[in-house]
Amino acid sequence: MGFLDIKNATKSYGAVKVLHETNISIEEGEFLVLVGPSGCGKSTLLNMIAGLEDITSGEIAIKGRSMNGVKPAERNIAMVFQSYALYPNMTVKGNISFGMEMHGMPKEQREPRIAQVADLLQISHLLDRKPGQLSGGQRQRVAMGRALVREPDVFLFDEPLSNLDAKLRVDMRTEIKKLHQKLGTTIVYVTHDQIEALTLSTRIAVMFGGYVQQLGTPKEIYDDPANMFVAGFMGSPSMNLFPAKIVAGANGPAAEVTLQAGQTAQIPFANGAMSSHEGREIILGLRPEAITDKDGADRNSQSVHIVECPVEVTEPAGSDTFVVTQIGGKDVTGRFRADVNVKAGETFPFAFNMEKAVVFDPKTEDRIR
């Protein structure tokens, strides 16, 4: 049993089931990120953990104590909202101390904690201001301060960075991670931004359509996606998914793909994988960094294969150049070195690192292993 246990939890509004049987268990100090597109049920699940929404069936337990029917205030949790939800009529100090006041903590005990948290988040000079006089980043800090000061068992973050501009978002992301490392608190964090999910978490639950599609460490999610949704959702640019057929090649099973102009090419799988699936139509998944120019290929990989492909578009992005070709009628993006000399319209050798290849069933969209 973990620190936070979600057992068969579901949520329905009338006949509409927005969250199907969900099982997640995390240990103390873990950073769980719920990630998915809007409407996937991630915020609903967070609100259920917070107690702001009822659980239709199943159970949520914190520290082994069932939280079903327990009021939000009595769960010893704290939440940071997307809009920060700072009380507009109170000063920063009032905002931070409100929770402690409501829990009946005497003033002399509140003061040192406010000072400590303000110091930690560098908002000491803002304590007497109203939220309306603060910038977005400052409001974000105050919202975190309000959560931190309660010293809760579990922190809940509901898309806390999505109202910030791009640069500030990256800064605050780092800061949240630092804070987590420093304090070692248990965090459940909802976001639709897969980069936030990968950078912050110790574990990720990828959600879609009210189901947890996959629960795992960032590395598991990124390298070993359970289905095509996870593969396509996580990573930027997203994983290339293109149709192929498993055939018996000269050096074991290979993926036969259609290049532009009806040409076919065979790319052998690494280590003779997929031998039991010969003849099967599949979707082949390769991340852009597994499709490179020849010199940029992973030197440790035993299974890099060169295929001449016509170049459709090149997108120089500073540190890399993304090169797009078509395979099986789909755009396939490779991450080439920045200074590689490749032009649209010409044919260029693409290096496929098949050690990183993942294979999916085109019908069920599940992984084939």
């Binding site: 917070a50 107690g51 702001l52 009021k71 939000p72 205030a73 949790i77 704290a78 939440m79 909202f81 997307q82 809009s83 939800a85 009380y87 507009p88 009529n89 409100f98 929770g99 409501m102 829990h103 309000r146 309660r150």
Partner: protein
């Protein structure tokens, strides 16, 4: 160059016409007030001799003193003072209670929605538009049963019941735009139903509270029908007393006293507008644009 300057003078010319028109309308609307003030400050002889529009030749405050404390209203010569006090005693609790209950209703209808809350709100709104005349007899019976007939508390009750519909409408629309996340944050912080209302919502309701107070104050203060129907001689509000003063059939019609009395009856609403009026438009906008 020349084209732009001529266009500019064209605009200026248009402006002059516009401002002249506005000034005319302004005078037109202020004329009654002028007549009332001027005539309340002159002896009756000046009015009856045909000098309605002229400024007073002999300035006197006697009509005001008369209207306030000496004039014959109803049976006794008490002036309007006791009725003014009746009106204050009626309007202050009625406005305060209906505003507060409206705020509470708006809070529940937006942040604690329950099955049928929309229908309930619809019914409350419907209550706003029931003509006063329809409820006169049932209300009289109700007040009788409650032992409040012919008293100031009875009038407070009637106005409270009638006011809740509008005040609920105002606050519901205002709170609909109030972020629900704040309520949820307060819930997690451990605040209960009333604490959230007192500490979070009410302090942020300034503009709409002003709108509601102006609206209720004006309506309740100016009401005549309920005042005439549900009050006794000792609990009549200002409007009814003013009517009695003007309608009294004994003696000479003292127009200057009547004018002074009418100004007295109108003054409180005027004051409320002057003090809080600038919030009025702001509050109306806040409710309508975001709601």
């Amino acid at each position: 160059m020349s084209a732009s300057s001529s266009a500019k003078s064209g605009i200026n010319f248009g402006r002059y016409i516009l401002y002249t028109l506005l000034a005319l309308f302004c005078i037109y609307y202020l004329l009654p007030l002028y007549v009332m003030v001027v005539n309340s400050l002159k002896p009756l002889s000046e009015i009856t001799s045909g000098g309605m529009m002229s400024l007073p030749q002999e300035l006197t405050f006697a009509p005001w003193q008369n209207a306030w404390s000496k004039a014959q209203v109803g049976v006794e010569a008490t002036g309007l003072r006791p009725y003014f006090i009746n009106s204050i005693q009626m309007v202050v609790p009625a406005v305060a209670l209906s505003t507060l209950l409206g705020a509470l209703n708006g809070y529940v209808l937006t942040k604690w929605q329950f099955r049928g809350s929309t229908i309930l709100f619809g019914l409350l709104l419907f209550g706003c538009f029931i003509p006063f005349q329809i409820v006169l007899i049932p209300m009289a019976r109700m007040l009788g049963l409650m032992g409040l007939a012919g008293s100031v508390p009875g009038l407070i009750f009637v106005h409270l019941v009638y006011g809740i519909g509008f005040s609920t409408l105002y606050f519901r629309n205002y709170y609909a735009a109030f972020p629900t996340e704040l309520v949820r944050a307060a819930q997690i912080d451990g605040a209960g139903f009333f604490t959230i209302f007192w500490r979070i919502l009410l302090p942020s309701s300034g503009p709409i509270a002003v709108v509601c107070i102006i609206w209720q104050f004006t309506n309740i203060w100016n009401d005549f029908l309920f005042g005439a129907s549900f009050s006794d001689f000792d609990s009549q509000p200002m409007t009814v007393a003013l009517n009695n003063l003007v309608q009294s059939s004994t003696g000479v019609k003292e127009y200057n006293v009547h004018f002074a009395g009418a100004i007295m009856a109108a003054l409180p609403t005027l004051l409320v507008y002057i003090v809080a009026g600038r919030y009025f438009v702001r509050g109306l906008m806040a409710g309508s644009v975001k709601g």
